[in-house]
Amino acid sequence: MITIFIPTPLRRFAAEQAKVSVNAKNVAEAIKSLTSIHPSLTPYIYDEGELIRKHVRIYLGEDDIREKEGINTLLKEGDELSIIPAIAGGTH
């Protein structure tokens, strides 16, 4: 099983769970499984083109998947993915 960490702001869309377990061979499958279990998460993770939203980061352990193989990054039993909202802002 792969464990997916749900950030606090999105837990309301995941039955208030902090972690969700899925079966998946790669990141794309894992995120698809997650949004199948909790469809309300979909607009917070995917954009209209069904790509991972620009302001959502996905980490495998301590590593950004963009620095690996992106959503094609292979997973193994026991891996932990984290969904991390980009936190930024500023004045005008």
């Binding site: 960490f5 837990r11 301590e62 991390i84 980009a86 936190i87 930024a88 802002g89």
Partner: protein, 153 residues
């Protein structure tokens, strides 16, 4: 929904943001939420990682975010929001703040005018817009001229 913030947390925010002036600074707010009562009791200061003009932008490292979530879990707390400064600008969310806003979080924005904190306001995202939320503090006098703040007894 009621939101309160501990006086020591406000003091910690004030010291952090004033020390970073004229740059923007930022951090996490943690505490507890029971039903509709939100109490902010902890803060985590983080570095502004913006590679743009730090006087006008802040960015938090995703790993710092993950550490804050892990700390909250370990301590039995909830990650409740983000604080950041608007150096020499009103404590009003910008389009950049809105672009990155998350549901659930309280967004505390603090005006730092010429190095001193002069205003504190908090906002929540509702239907894609920021709505100012009232909050209370046990700090007196309040470090703000925000008329919506009501100190505890």
């Amino acid at each position: 929904m009621s939101t309160s913030i501990d006086k020591d947390i406000l003091s910690g925010i004030e010291a952090h943001l004033e020390s970073a002036y004229p740059n923007e600074a930022c951090g996490f707010l943690l505490g507890t939420q029971v039903q509709k009562k939100r109490d902010i009791t902890h803060l985590i200061k983080v570095d502004n990682q913006s590679s743009e003009n730090q006087r006008r932008r802040f960015v938090i490292d995703p790993l710092d975010y993950l550490k804050a979530e892990r700390f909250a879990t370990k301590e039995g707390l909830t990650l409740l929001g983000i604080y950041h400064s608007h150096p020499d600008h009103p404590a009003i969310p910008s389009v950049h703040d809105l672009e990155f806003a998350q549901p659930f979080f309280s967004y505390f924005i603090h005006t730092i005018s010429e190095g001193k904190m002069t205003d504190t306001r908090s906002y929540r995202l509702l239907d894609g817009k920021f709505i100012e939320e009232k909050f209370t503090s046990n700090q007196y006098p309040l470090p703000s001229h925000n008329s919506q703040l009501t100190p505890h007894d």
